[in-house]
Homo-oligomer: 244 residues x 2
DNA sequence: CGATTCCTTGAAGAGGTTCAAAGGCCGTGG
DNA sequence: CCACGGCCTTTGAACCTCTTCAAGGAATCG
């Protein structure tokens, strides 16, 4: 019995790729969310499902890319090396975020994309978008919304994670990390990563995390995971704003 | 003798708006750079030419906007208020940069846009882009390039102006300002603006500028203008990177 | 010309960095 | 299995950068 038989007829898709996309958990939020099943069925390009281990690179800055990526699972960081030679983490991308949109314009990637956790992403080739934009121009509006989202993320990162005293920035980072939470547990970056996100030394990052543990803002069952106590975190953030 | 007579016949445009756009100094770099004269002639929407004095607001964050803007002349800053209640300047936009693209998607503006110098901008109404994208879909690609440019600017601002010691950030700011130079003279922000760009106090900004004047990196003929000595600036930047 | 606003400079103190060393958490190999 | 080395984290102490608080000076405007 083929798998098509267990699917209601009007949803039956004969293109295997289409079936994969139709079943994808993030499709509703992803680029092809606007496409109906019939349109999906016309996708004849292979959309690769890529898995990465923590630390593995998805793409490198300056590389000519022929694809963008949609994050299905896990957290990816975008980073750059400043002209001083220091690594700086620009922002994080999580489930349903899109990365490397610049490849859709034939440009080279603007930053390095590196997996923070175990990651799975869909590779969206440029040719596919080119084809679709001919047949279904409304996909371009969706694409522009992605750009705007990336820009909003960048602006928020700058305003909230790049200003004020170190402790405040760390609290904001924990808040941001809790957005990517995955069942109570939050991914806790290495101290070196934190320092690259918040522009501080790893010693300062370590001291702050230690202190926040003592204050009961977070617990770390293991090195790379934390339970964040939101009430304590929000309280800390409020007090922090008040006394300045 | 009408002005049309001095223009070669094949360039004669009968729509007055088209003439304005055809003559615009930034058209080549602007959104409608891809349109030929005939296409320009079909623009029947009025593209307002708006002038702003320093400190005047172009649009406010959260406002529902019906237009984006192309900077023709001058410098505009994008700023936000952080959740702590502090103002933060996100980046600067100069000649041929586009602002408020999010309005093209029916979204509210993501930041405040305020004139730093005397500014003139073209108002590009959303309806115009909607119409054009039907007739000339290639304009959408141009629009996406604008988004990518904004994102690149944001990323660069974050990596270069938000990390490292105060002196280094100030040097990078001067370098950035020199990109917007206007005949040897550079716009010199008020100390309060500098502090909002570089996340430091106005005292620190003032001290750094005073010191850099003494070092011969810049001269300030008046409060709001400076002459930047690029050789000295670049030398300072190099030494600064070396000793760290 | 006085009032306001912005800029500059000083001195004291806090916050962050630097340097140094010790403690934990692996994976490898004896 | 335990010992070892490597890597990351934590903590301490001294130092330095940047902030804070305060006051005087320059520019601008009615």
């Amino acid at each position: 019995m083929s798998s098509a038989n267990v699917i209601p007829l009007k949803h039956a898709l004969f293109n295997p790729q289409a079936q994969v996309c139709a079943d994808c958990g993030v499709r509703r939020f992803a680029l092809f969310g606007v496409l109906d099943h019939a349109a999906l069925d016309n996708i004849h390009v292979h959309i690769a499902d890529i898995k990465l281990q923590p630390g593995q690179s998805l793409y490198a800055a300056q590389a000519v890319g022929s694809a963008a990526y949609t994050v299905r699972e896990g957290i990816v960081r975008l980073e750059r090396t400043s002209e001083r030679g220091e690594r700086r983490i620009l922002r994080l991308a999580g489930r349903s975020d899109m990365l490397g949109l610049e490849a859709m314009l034939g440009q080279t990637y603007a930053a390095d994309a590196v997996a923070c956790t175990e990651v799975s992403v869909c590779r969206v080739p440029r040719t596919l978008v080119d084809d679709l934009s001919r047949d279904r121009p409304e996909i371009l509006v969706d694409l522009m919304k992605r750009w705007q989202r990336a820009l909003d993320d960048a602006d928020e990162w700058l305003t909230e994670l790049c200003s004020g005293p170190a402790r405040h920035r760390m609290l904001r980072l924990l808040l941001k990390l809790s957005e990517f939470a995955d069942g109570g547990q939050v991914w806790l970056p290495a101290r070196l990563e934190m320092s690259a996100m918040l522009d501080m030394t790893i010693e300062t990052a370590s001291r702050l995390i230690s202190q926040l543990k003592r204050e009961g803002v977070l617990d770390a069952p293991d090195q790379r995971h934390a339970v964040i106590h939101m009430d304590a975190l929000l309280k800390a953030l409020r007090e922090d704003s008040a006394l300045s």
